[in-house]
Amino acid sequence: MVRRYFKLYCLLAGAYVRSRLQYRLSFGLMCFGIVISEVCLLGLLGALLVKFRTVNGWTWAEVVFLYGLGNLAYSFMRILGSQLDDFDRYIIRGELDGVLIRPVPPLFYILASRIELIHVSRALTSVAIFVVAFHLTEIRWTLEVALFTLTTIVSGTLIMFTLMLISATVALWTTKSGKLTDLLISATKEATAFPVSIYPLAVRLLLTFILPVAFVTYYPAQQLLQKGEFLGMPESFQFAAPVVALIMLCVSYLFWCSGLRRYHSTGS
């Protein structure tokens, strides 16, 4: 069962990649553009930090680490959810009907049908940034740290992915959701790059309990960087990312299912 779906995922994603490679020049330019924009962003961040030294008690290295961690989760999320940023075309063009006539779970089929290689090039860039950032901090590389970092990245990816899935699912009611998804994508990306402590209380609560992106970088970083900055939240939050990811997975999947039921009963 798992093998079948793994194989199918590779085949469908592979078909998409092969389709894209038909247009090599545009693909190459896109990849190039992504790398350039990542490097520029990082440069900007560096320039700001050189000027201001610290952000709310966070050193230059620590912020770069936070940025690198968030960017890693973000770019993995974009790979996994390549299809979700313009999911509404499935509704607008009626492509969802074509998905529903296949003997495969619709969400799986949709996610597998597209792996955007430009996001892979972004992911490679962010791996490089993260490795550099890791060295800038004083984190000692142990097996425990490695496992914790890995868990954090996986959980962070899933948390961001579920937020994207939820916003895409809105299209099943409203027909369009592209703008909302774009907004959410860029907002969550920004929110993971800086310590949540710089925001007012309301935003902090929002980023912890409603759009829990604080669990992508900020809370796990407390453990890795030994900051001990919890803003009145329980200290156990530093280990909570996998739990939050699991809860979000359940919530977003249920939301997706109810959206699909609605589509089933209203049609296009």
Binding site: L8, L11, A15, R18, S19, G98, L100, I101, T266, G267
Partner: protein, 327 residues
């Protein structure tokens, strides 16, 4: 035992009214008024294995909605559907394994990849055993002459070639039922004929039950044994094509070229339906007056150059049913 049973099937859509003007459109997002559209309204029919049925109706009559409910894409508002013992929307996956679907307006093939790649992907999606896949692919590519463009990307195919590939794609997994939503739309005469021929053969040789929706009544006349006409969500005719002609096609048409333009034409038992210069169209009911009687009348009073009798086209009959309802 029927392969498809539909009982009192209905599908109602809520259509929200949007009001014009800023404040009104704002208030309509809060208190939304809606109309109920009965896209399919208390429809019942059943199909036997191996039937070839045309499902026709004007735009918005409810054809596609019915097909979408039969394929499990839409959930009915009320009523009962049984397809091969399954309830399509509840057992969607099991149902999809045993049906093939072709949407004439939208290809299900991978647009930028060679045709054969789409077939290979479908093989994996439907878990078609290798030998069955090979056998079916050979069968269909010979029947539809796919060989010359199997390695051409789908986007470079002509519409006719693409439809042949879509038909193959829908049949590779040996479905028991084939649903076609306007399979001949946009095709030229030759390609249309090819599709029709193919459907007849698949139906005869593989015992595939075929349901097709169409606007082109020639499809129905040349392919189907049975015809279901739907209008405003209700079935207004369900039966054989010959029976339809028998029942509604009694009016024949006599087209006459007169030698000169008579100002006034008077004939008994005949309606003058159209006039274009010296050519006139006369409609008459074959139960009340025979063609020879009409001609005798005609030649007795006017000078005629030429005449032809036309049997009612199914299109004409259906048009009349739409306009007047069933009597």
């Amino acid at each position: 035992m029927p392969i498809i049973t539909v009982e009192h099937l209905s599908k109602h859509f809520k259509v929200y009214k949007r009001r014009t003007g800023f404040w009104r459109s704002l208030s309509s997002t809060v208190s939304r008024r809606h109309d109920i559209i009965k896209a399919v309204d208390d429809v019942s029919f059943s199909l036997d294995r191996g039937e070839l049925v045309g499902y026709i109706g004007a735009n918005g009559a409810g054809k596609s909605t019915t097909i979408k409910m039969l394929t499990g894409i839409l959930v009915p508002s009320s009523g009962h559907i049984d397809v091969m013992g399954l309830t399509p929307y509840r057992q969607r996956k099991e149902n999809t394994r045993r049906i093939g679907v072709v949407f004439g307006q939208r290809t299900q093939l991978w647009w930028d990849l060679p045709v054969i790649d789409s077939f290979e992907l479908l093989k994996q999606i439907y878990e078609i055993p290798q030998n069955l896949y090979k056998q079916n692919l050979e069968f269909f590519s010979e029947m539809l002459q796919l060989q010359p463009f199997l390695s051409t990307p789908v986007r470079r195919l002509s519409l006719g070639q693409r439809m042949r590939c879509d038909l193959t794609a829908a049949l590779l997994h040996d479905p028991e039922i084939l649903y076609l939503d306007e399979p001949t739309i946009g095709l030229d005469v030759v390609a249309k004929e090819q599709v029709r021929q193919f459907l007849r053969e698949v139906n005869a040789e593989r015992q595939v039950t075929v349901i097709l929706t169409t606007h082109d009544l020639n499809d129905v006349e040349k392919v189907c044994q049975r015809l279901i006409i739907i209008d405003s969500g209700k079935i207004i005719y369900d039966g054989g094509i010959n029976a339809l002609k028998e029942r509604y096609g009694k009016t024949r048409m006599l087209i006459v070229d007169l030698a000169q333009g008579y100002s006034d034409i008077q004939l008994e038992g005949v309606d003058l339906t159209r006039r274009d210069g010296n050519r006139i169209w006369l409609a008459f009911d074959r139960d009340t007056i025979s063609a020879s009687e009409v001609i005798v009348q005609l030649t007795g009073r006017y000078e005629i150059q030429d005449l032809t009798i036309s049997e009612p086209e199914i299109e004409e009959i259906v048009r009349r049913i739409y306009e007047m309802g069933v009597h």
